[in-house]
């Protein structure tokens, strides 16, 4: 049992809770006046705190330290708590979770992709009642660093991880009580002034241990964010949570920035739970009320929260890949976790102090996540642990009874009676054999104590080995024994091999899969080859025989005493590369062959001019006539620039019958067309203006940047990427893309310490940035006919959603900036919707004919889902809009065209590459070992 469990349980517990609140949120959303009032109050408070806001920001750093502390505390607590949790009946809150939700959730868990989840969350955000919410402490900073310093009237309430016994038993804490509590906390937090905060932090830092409560409040006045850690008060009010951290994050309309990291965060079911159930509760209630954006942003911070938590999950999972049942104490994973949380907090620091938002912040977070890469992965990069896991600790289920394990199953202690005959021996080995794709595998054993006689054996065993022997002393086992220094190769007669070893020595064992040999090291010195002709499926094994004997293993988690492994691996790689390079290829004229491969590739891919030049020079014939290549090239180009309607038109004209006979392909093309329409890339002339308007956003922004040096200063690269994503052109498949421009500006303004922001500029800036969001809001409205909001409504909607004090000014701006385009935009929306209907009827047609594949269903669903987002580029499905996704479509169509012309679907060169890759895989599967050092990527130039 370890932390994953703990976390899971906590998630399970608080998610229903969250969903309950959501349902209550949706209940009261009809009378949203009420909530608006609350919002206004809080906002006012935030504004009053606005002047001090920038100064408060300096405290983020201190607070983060605090958060780290509390995180660790939480983890430790979880460890204690988890046991209880397993036994306890669910809390009342859980029981309140509607059953329907659960079942649906379960169904959806399986088929829903990550993006879905995110979408759900966004939907949830849009529906959520403006209600103060509590956010788990360790996520606050993540939120901040991911660029979501959210203004917030409406805070997200999320119960903290730690539900302990008291709570379970006194579980009648109902939601209202909780809300009140939260309100209190919020007020307290918002009203705290700088000094108080600092004091509170100090206090908190001093008294960090369990019953501490930290509240982080990010407030906005004129765009300043406040992060407050309050170590006092409200914790006692709740009284039920031992460790209670509160974040009230006033949103600054920066809603969606943190979503990209979610793309990466591995999904886990409970999270799905929360989102889907929320979705259930709130779906289609479509309350595009004035608080829309602000709510969503606050809520979003919760999604960022979850995402970050999951990221952590992921890495610790990675670190202790299959440790769940292995690590008894959980010590190891806890240290790994600490490592992770530290890296997170450091990223927070970077994010919080360095401009916080935007792409840069997100990127930081992700990169820092990557820093937690586990050393074994680095050591054995080509091992696919899904297929062949690496040995990471001793297996408690595969040992002799007289062997005891401790220290995360890394320490082996002899517990038997230790009679002097062989029956007293006992061995333990790892849960998994060494994957041959390691190429070279190494582990070390440190002798903690030689015990009475030091009868210890270190080595390798095959599956059939019986664990009541020392390795080497029986069939299918190999060992190096401490008392005589002999090596034993599947026999009880040892060969003289090396020195003896005893307390304090470090013995290493290295398996070379290229030549199937094994050598040992003692205290970092190579002892030479001990065994040859080893079989492949071998488990690292140690055996002990007399009382007191105790050894520790290092499978690579720690640096080895023998430090030449990596060097040896580099040498082996170089040797193999050389071997391949010098391989007598028996090709008479490889130049001709390669010229041919290049030529066919160029023709196939439609690089017409290159092919012409190349073929002329190398005297090669064209198989396909130039005109045909050019036609294909044109279509490919159209797809690659997103002009799908023209591409389809051209295909229909140039290759009659092709699409008509391949409905699935046609459908795929149309799906892409729909996506490109949303992308703004596939809009016909009449609508070009709109695209233009959208594209002027960055220009506006630039002018703002120029007018305020402070902005310019604090805006880093993230902003640029934001611009690009706004245009839908610069989004990349990786998570880091697509931060809304407004996020960046807002945040940069927020984060800039001592920034005296001219409110006027802020407004203009924000407003101009607001446009895409507003646009897509109107899209949203249009999509749902039952929704009474007209375009104009949603316009003001988008406006008001920017929760700020000077709404009038915005309206003016909106009039100037946006209104002229909104009519055109309406037309675009109409077009998109019209096309959407066409697409969906085509989908139904395919369903009827039973032609629809699961993949296509997903494709359609994803494409339609994009509409749900006010800013599709930064939505979890934003990757769909990424130009790199066009490649698949163009390749598929190209292949289909070529096939219809009786050419190969793929150029020979591609087959060669794939063939080589498969051959390498096959080498790996057959344990030849070379695949550890060569991958198909070695074929491609590095550039």
């Amino acid at each position: 049992m370890d932390f994953e469990h703990a976390d899971n349980d906590n998630d399970n517990e608080h998610n229903p809770n969250l969903s309950m609140e959501n349902s209550s949120a949706s209940n009261s959303s009809s009378g949203s006046n009420n909530s608006n009032l609350t919002a206004a109050t809080v906002n006012a408070a935030a504004v009053s705190g606005g002047s001090t806001a920038a100064a408060l920001l300096f405290n983020i750093e201190a607070e983060q330290r605090l958060l780290t502390d509390t995180e660790q505390e939480q983890q430790q607590q979880q460890q204690q708590i988890e046991a209880d949790e397993h036994e306890h009946s669910p809390t009342p809150i859980q029981q309140q979770l509607p059953q329907a939700d659960e079942s649906r959730v379960e169904a959806e868990q399986q088929e829903q992709a990550q993006q879905e989840q995110n979408q759900d969350q966004v939907e949830q955000q849009q529906q959520e009642q403006p209600q103060p919410e509590i956010i788990e402490a360790d996520t606050i900073a993540d939120t901040i660093d991911a660029g979501t310093i959210d203004n917030d009237n409406d805070a997200v309430v999320e119960r903290i991880d730690d539900y302990d016994d008291e709570e379970d038993e006194g579980g009648d804490d109902d939601l209202e009580a909780e809300e009140e509590e939260v309100l209190e906390e919020e007020e307290a937090a918002v009203e705290v002034d700088v000094d108080a905060v600092v004091a509170a932090q100090q206090q908190a830092a001093g008294t960090a241990p369990p019953p501490a409560e930290s509240a982080a409040v990010a407030g906005t006045g004129t765009g300043a964010a406040v992060a407050v850690a309050s170590a006092s008060g409200s914790g006692s009010a709740s009284g039920q949570q031992r460790l209670h951290s509160v974040a009230v994050l006033p949103s600054y309309s920066t809603a969606r920035a943190p979503l990209p990291p979610l793309l990466r965060a591995p999904r886990s079911n409970h999270n799905n739970n929360s989102s889907t159930s929320n979705n259930n509760n709130n779906n289609n209630t479509s309350n595009n009320n004035n608080n829309n954006t602000s709510t969503s942003s606050s809520n979003n911070s919760s999604s960022a929260a979850t995402s970050s938590r999951h990221t952590r999950h992921f890495y610790s999972n990675n670190g202790s890949h299959f440790s769940n049942e292995m690590y008894a104490g959980g010590h190891k994973s806890s240290s790994q976790r600490d490592g992770h949380s530290q890296s997170h907090s450091s990223s927070r620091l970077a994010g919080g102090s360095g401009g916080g938002g935007g792409g840069s912040g997100t990127r930081n977070a992700n990169q820092s996540g990557h820093q937690g890469v586990d050393p074994l992965r680095l050591l054995y990069p080509n091992v696919n642990e899904n297929e062949t896991p690496l040995p990471r600790c001793w297996n408690p289920h595969d040992k002799c009874l007289n062997i005891g394990l401790s220290h995360n199953n890394l320490r082996v202690t002899y517990k038997g009676v230790g009679k002097q005959h062989s029956e007293a021996a006992g061995s333990v080995r790892t849960a998994y054999p060494i994957p041959p794709s390691c190429g070279l595998y190494y582990f070390e054993v440190r002798i903690i104590s030689k015990g009475r006689n030091g009868y210890m054996g270190i080595g390798l065993t095959a599956q059939q080995f019986r664990m009541n022997r020392l390795p080497g002393g029986d069939k299918q086992s190999y060992g190096y024994h401490g008392y005589d220094g002999n090596s034993f190769s599947s026999s009880c007669n040892g060969q003289s091999y090396g020195p003896t070893f005893t307390t304090g020595d470090i013995i290493g064992c290295c398996v070379n899969f290229l030549n199937n040999t094994c050598f040992y090291t003692k205290n970092g010195f190579d002892l030479g080859i001990a065994f040859r002709d080893l079989p492949t499926k071998l488990y690292p094994t140690v055996g002990l025989q007399t009382p007191g004997e105790e050894v520790d293993a290092n499978f690579g988690q720690e640096p080895f005493k023998f430090d030449k492994i990596e060097e040896m691996m580099r040498d082996m790689r170089a040797t193999i590369l050389r071997k391949i390079d010098r391989y007598p290829h028996l090709l008479e004229t490889p130049e001709n062959l390669m010229n041919r491969l290049v030529s066919t590739y160029l023709v196939h891919s439609g690089y017409c001019k290159t092919a012409e030049a190349f073929n002329a020079y190398t005297h090669q014939p064209f198989d396909e006539d130039l005109a045909s290549i050019k036609t294909r090239q044109k279509i490919i180009k159209l797809i690659q620039t997103g002009k799908m309607s023209q591409a389809i038109e051209n295909t229909l004209r140039a290759y009659p019958g092709l699409l008509e006979n391949n409905k699935n392909l046609w459908f795929a093309l149309k799906c892409r067309q729909f996506i490109e329409m949303i992308n703004g890339a596939d809009i016909e002339h009449a609508n070009n203006k709109v695209t233009a308007t959208t594209q002027t956003m960055p220009t506006n922004q630039t002018s703002v940047i120029q007018s305020t040096k402070a902005f310019k200063h604090s805006k880093s690269g993230g902003n640029i990427s934001g611009n690009g994503s706004g245009n839908g052109s610069a989004s990349t498949n990786t998570n880091t893309n697509t931060n809304q421009p407004q996020n960046n500006t807002a945040n940069s303004a927020v984060i800039k310490p001592g920034d005296k922001t001219d409110p006027k500029i802020m407004i203009i800036d924000d407003n101009s940035n607001k446009c895409p969001e507003h646009d897509s809001n109107s899209m949203d409205v249009e999509m749902e006919p039952c929704n009474s909001h007209s375009n104009g409504d949603s316009c003001s909607n988008g406006n008001a959603s920017v929760a700020r004090n000077s709404l009038d000014a915005i309206d003016e701006e909106m009039d100037v900036d946006v209104s002229p385009s909104s009519r055109n935009y309406g037309r675009v929306i109409e077009k998109i919707l019209e096309f959407g209907k066409e697409l969906s009827s085509m989908g139904q047609q395919l369903e009827k004919e039973n032609l629809m594949t699961e993949e296509e269903r997903q494709m359609l669903e994803d494409a339609f889902s994009l509409i749900a987002y006010s800013n599709p580029w930064s939505s979890p499905l934003g990757w769909l809009l990424c130009p790199s996704r066009r490649e698949n479509v163009s390749t598929t169509l190209n292949s289909a065209i070529l096939e219809s012309l009786n050419f190969e679907r793929r150029p020979p060169l591609e087959y060669l590459v794939a063939h080589a890759a498969e051959l390498l895989k096959l080498i790996g599967q057959n344990s030849l070992g070379e695949d550890a050092f060569i991958t198909i990527d070695d074929v491609f130039p590095q550039n």
């Binding site: 499926k537 290829h585 490889p590 290049v598 001019k609 190398t618 020979p908 060669l912 390498l920």
Partner: protein, 225 residues
Amino acid sequence: MSYNEKSEAITKEEWLQRLEQFPFKQADMNRLIMNYLVTEGFKEAAEKFQHEAELEPSVELSSLDDRILIREAVQAGRIEEATHLVNQLHPDLLGSEFYLFFHLQQLQLIELIRAGKVEEALVFAQSKLSESGEDIRFELERTLALLAFEKPQESPFADLLEQSYRQKIASELNAAILRCEHNEDSTPKMMFLLKLILWAQSKLDSRSINYPKMKDLETAQLENK
């Protein structure tokens, strides 16, 4: 002993399916092509490709000029000109790459034979190619054997007269120049790909592991079994 027993029998169909599903990145493939064009000195094609595939070449394309001139000279059979250019560009190159130098001279000899200048060819062979090692003597004999035939194009040694032989030497020379200039990879990555396939296939063959072998690399056809 097999680690993964299920890998035993792979049918051609399964294999083909795997190949189809290989996650290609066009950008990778394009870099492979660009690497070839640049390394082999196809400047015009490289320029066009740079434009069409929206790709940056790994080296300045203008640096290709000298190599292109030399390659063109070799491919057009103007060996003396090529030798001269190489000596201008890298005076030590031909001195240190003796085998390459022999190949250039051999080409020159072949050109003389091609032109029917028998006496000149004999004189050239005796004066310039006399002091050579074992390997070279064999190649020289093959070359001179061309003289024995009335129509060398129809002789068993006709391969020497083909354009591809010039291309082979041109590539050799090109690689030598690249080595001398950059000390980096002088052979195109595609060559590594080909060798990787051949090496891997022989490796698997030597363990008698069954798989659909690719014999004809040009068409990438799999062996029928």
